[in-house]
């Protein structure tokens, strides 16, 4: 018989499509094409610090119900993301822009009955996405500033002048000192 071409998965449509799109879209994006399944993805995630716990997920949805991002953005659904990782949908997960929507607030981690530690899983997935070349542009920009300055905002003369007026100490990065650390930093492969 062989495997069917499509395997019906747990509802994925909230991640891939909005409800409205789902009703009208005929592209069957909510189905999992077995050729998409990457069999080693799951094991790779499990092997990373922070990824060890995700297979304990039993899809209760406490994370999604607790999620402040989900509360305002229907496309984002932590429960479904965990399911997608479990299904081995590597490319869909790593290329997805919703991967970068998690605010890392740890509300879901606090409430998860299975101790899945979703924010830590998120960190693992984002790191993998970066290594695969799918860094979100805003993070790429941020990394460039950090690599050079050692901080996420440049402290220019204007800022320091304002600080001086307020009686606050000057803020500056010793480039030489920072350079010794930054040469050990890696922001993607």
């Amino acid at each position: 018989m062989g495997l069917p071409q499509f395997a019906r998965a747990t509802p994925l449509h909230n991640v891939i499509l909005t409800r409205e799109e789902f009703k009208t879209d005929k592209s069957r994006k909510d189905f999992v094409n077995v050729s998409e399944i990457n069999e080693t993805f799951c094991r790779q995630v499990l092997a990373k610090p922070g990824g060890e716990r995700f297979r304990a997920c039993f899809q209760c949805g406490t994370c999604t119900a607790s999620c402040p991002v989900r509360a305002v953005e229907a496309r984002y659904n932590p429960r479904v993301l965990v399911k997608m990782v479990e299904l081995g949908l590597r490319d869909r997960v790593l290329k997805s822009d919703v991967l970068w929507l998690c605010s890392l607030c740890y509300q879901c981690e606090e409430r998860c009955p299975e101790d899945v530690r979703f924010p830590e899983l998120m960190t693992v997935l984002r790191n993998m996405a970066v290594d695969a070349g799918y860094i979100h542009p805003s993070f790429a920009k941020l990394a460039a500033v950090v690599a050079e300055q050692g901080r996420i905002y440049e402290v220019d003369d204007f800022i320091n002048m304002r600080r001086k007026q307020l009686g606050l100490p000057i803020v500056s990065t010793d480039r030489e000192e920072w350079g010794k650390i930054s040469q050990s930093l890696r922001f993607g492969k």
Partner: protein
């Protein structure tokens, strides 16, 4: 007199100088010496890109504090969270520890693992204590109704923090507020996310997240929101102006950093506490606080 290495983080010294100014003023009133060191980013924003690099960045700061024999105090909840989690990982995970130690060594640094980190609000609560803080209050702020906002990483993940406050129903900042005489309203979801971490990824989502709390504050007719994190402050203060413009709604809710509120109660002037740098003007609140000229 207690001494701490003052970890400002990236955001506070650039975008929340009112928070920094009021913290320094309040600390000096309480005989807490804040020592400035050439710290760099805590690693939090880099964790999403490369966790190992973020951890090294974090530990560089601990090495610096340890070399001066100081523990770290930070005013940013995100910094407190990242520094605490990476410090725990350094203690618990031998392979990460060895890697970090090697990297620090090649930068001419060493770290024995002795430096601790806590949020400034936590130090006020745990070390100074509510009773002693109350003695510093010279101007009772009764009549003010405020809503507290904890900021995610002040209490979560709770296992990293040794569960010093309840992650679902936190109370420490409310207790600190009530020291001043102001009333802290008992409204659920005090530790909801302000949306700031999503701001650069999807602004509409971030602003909608921030608006959730503003709606609560408006419904409760509070005089101010009280925050303890520069990201939360920016989301609700500067973000409020953007929300008002973007969504055509009016809030006008002043957003105070806790040291600004405490400072008023200690009799410090609004100018000394950086009120002129608050985006949503707190004129009404300052007039309501008797004896304080706006």
């Amino acid at each position: 007199m207690s001494r701490y290495a003052f970890f400002l983080g990236c955001t506070t010294p650039v975008r929340a100088m009112n928070y920094e100014l009021s913290t320094r003023r309040v600390a000096s009133k309480l005989d807490i010496e804040l020592v400035d060191l050439p710290f760099t980013c805590c690693g939090y924003p880099i964790e999403s890109i490369n966790r190992d690099s973020a951890m090294l960045m974090s530990m560089r700061n601990f090495a610096l504090a340890e070399s001066k024999g100081l523990d770290i105090v930070t005013v940013c909840s995100a910094c407190a969270g990242a520094l605490t989690r990476f410090s725990n990982a350094f203690q618990e995970d031998e392979s990460s520890r060895n890697r970090v130690l090697d990297q620090l060594k090649s930068a001419g640094l060493e770290y024995k693992g002795s430096a601790k980190v806590r949020h400034f609000a936590r130090i006020l609560y745990e070390d100074v204590g509510v009773a002693k803080l109350r003695e510093t209050v010279t101007k009772d702020l009764s009549g003010l109704k405020v809503l507290t906002h904890y900021g995610c990483h002040y209490v979560r993940p709770s296992d990293s923090y040794g569960e010093f406050d309840d992650p679902e129903v936190p109370h420490t900042v409310d207790d600190l507020v009530e020291v001043t005489g102001a009333e802290s309203l008992d409204i659920p979801q005090k530790s909801v996310c302000c949306g700031a971490p999503v701001l650069s990824v999807n602004k509409a989502v971030a602003l909608s997240m921030a608006e959730v709390k503003l709606q609560m504050a408006q419904a409760a007719k509070v005089d101010a929101l009280v925050v303890i994190c520069p990201f939360c402050g920016i989301s609700y203060d500067r973000g409020q102006l953007e929300i008002e413009a973007e969504f055509q709604r009016k809030y006008g809710i002043p957003v105070l950093y806790y040291p600004q509120l405490l400072g008023l109660a200690m009799g410090l002037s609004p100018r000394d506490l950086g009120f002129m740098m608050n985006s949503v003007k707190a004129q009404g609140l300052l007039e309501k606080v008797s004896g304080v000229k706006a």
